[in-house]
């Protein structure tokens, strides 16, 4: 067996080890590669930044712990920005399995910013129905969520003063790991009740959402860990996403090198086979 053949039949565990090391080493010894801000992430940031103090900002945390590495830093960065701008934050989730995580994210960020539940922000929790919840909220928010996550009646909460339904929301952002997510919020929310919508999503979903961005159906998109790192940079509070970008770049480089090497060996093997065939004939 030639060297090229041996390299092409390399044990996959060696590749896993290489990728593992490329991820682990930059996490242990960060380099701090520069992060370029994309226009799609800036779209969300700029819109929140321009909202007047006291505007109603709705954040739907439509993900569960399985997508935590990508969407958790996005949520933290957006909430820090919204609290810093003194917006009235209305948070909720369409994913029952993400309720606890969403509650933890909001409580932690609000505590850090010194915000008070019911006055500066409210976590509505989860309500059954998926996309129907968005439609119901468009009709009457209090019918959909008669009580917040803590069981307190939503009617009369200072944070919801003047808010009857989705038409009263100045800006909504959905951080989604699947369905219901960005598309559902556009189809059943923005398109019907006419409020501005931004999105955040896992890396897997991002290519499918770019058509919505180009057509202006959403005004910004935070894609995966990279998007989260960009938002953290914009907010000026570097967190888990920025810390992970060195590792992300290193693994991408490793994959590119592996793909290139495998192709070189593949073509070398082909040439070798052809030479053998010529000698044989």
């Amino acid at each position: 067996m030639s060297f090229a053949e041996r390299m092409l039949r390399i044990d996959r565990r060696i590749i896993f080890l290489v990728i593992g090391l490329c991820t682990l080493l930059p996490l242990l010894f960060p380099v701090g590669l520069p992060i370029k801000i994309s226009s799609e992430v800036r779209g969300v940031y700029d819109y929140i930044d321009k909202l007047p103090e006291g505007s109603v900002f709705l954040l739907s945390l439509d993900f569960d712990p399985a997508s935590k590495p990508e969407l958790y830093p996005q949520a933290i960065a957006i909430l820090r920005h919204a609290f810093r701008k003194n917006l009235r934050v209305v948070a909720m989730t369409l994913w029952v399995s993400g309720t606890g995580l969403a509650d933890q994210i909001i409580s932690q960020t609000a505590k850090e910013a010194g915000k008070e539940s019911g006055k500066d922000y409210v976590f509505l929790g989860w309500s059954p129905g998926g996309s129907a919840v968005i439609l119901n909220m468009g009709q009457d928010l209090y019918n959909t969520f008669p009580a917040d996550y803590g069981g307190k009646a939503t009617k009369g909460l200072p944070v919801l003063a003047g808010v009857q339904n989705l038409r009263d929301v100045a800006y909504a952002v959905t951080l989604a790991a699947g369905n219901p997510g960005v598309e559902a919020w556009y189809v059943f929310g923005k398109d019907k009740y006419k409020f501005e919508l931004g999105g955040g999503c896992t890396g897997v979903m991002a290519p499918g959402l770019y058509p919505l961005l180009r057509s202006g159906q959403i005004n910004g998109l935070i894609g995966g860990l990279r998007g989260a790192a960009e938002y953290e940079t914009l907010v000026g509070q570097k967190g888990k996403a920025v810390a992970g970008m060195d590792a992300q770049s290193a693994t991408h480089l490793a994959i590119i090198v592996l793909v290139a090497i495998c192709n070189v060996f593949y073509f070398a093997m082909l040439r070798q086979q052809r030479r053998h065939e010529r000698i044989g004939s």
Partner: protein, 251 residues
Amino acid sequence: MDLPFATILGAWVATGLTLFILSFLYEDNPVFKLAEHLYVGVSLGYTIVKTFDTVVMTLIVHPILDKGQWSLLIPVGIGTLMLTRYVPKAAWLSRYAFAFIVGVGAGLAIPRTISSFILKQIEDTVRPLLSIAPGEGVTFTFSLLNPASNLNGIIILIGVVSVLFYFFFSVEHSGPGKLVARAGIMFLMISFGAAFGYTVMARMSLLIGRLTDLIEFSDASYGRPTLWLLLLTVATLIVLSRRGNAHPPER
């Protein structure tokens, strides 16, 4: 810094399960299966408890018993009809519930989806290929970085038409048609490449998330669970591997 016992316990459980799951990269083994079953069981259990508390207790039982909202029994009745699937003689009753749900779902989704995706996306695709700016007359913008530029408009038009032609099987793809279909394949490949690139990025992000936690939990304040449980996992894999060699499976 003294951490609460619950936090330390959580760190040990999270570290152990992460290492057990990652052990699959070496080979399929019982500790991976243990972690996999626990993951499915815990997430399902959490969902059932949360759903029961939010739907059954908060939205049905309390409003009926505390506020006398007896009209809620109508949706409850329709929902209950679904359970008749488990009684073969009464299973036909479930069709009423399904008919109601499918009818409402289709009625809500079809018009909104057509308007939001098909019409809106067509509108965006057929935008003018030249711009008319007031005072400047007809202009053409070349910026590839600006999604709204005229050059990008032309590229998108070529892409959409060629991909649609590639999937049009009523005409033989020969002559100029072959060229268009090949262009369609190229656009599809670029699209799949971008999607795959993002997928790789997403998977790496998940790995980064897990490794970040493992690094955090290697701290002495948690009792160094990463170190101890890594040793335990490696030892378990060695023992299992030796046992497997001693008793090779019958062929």
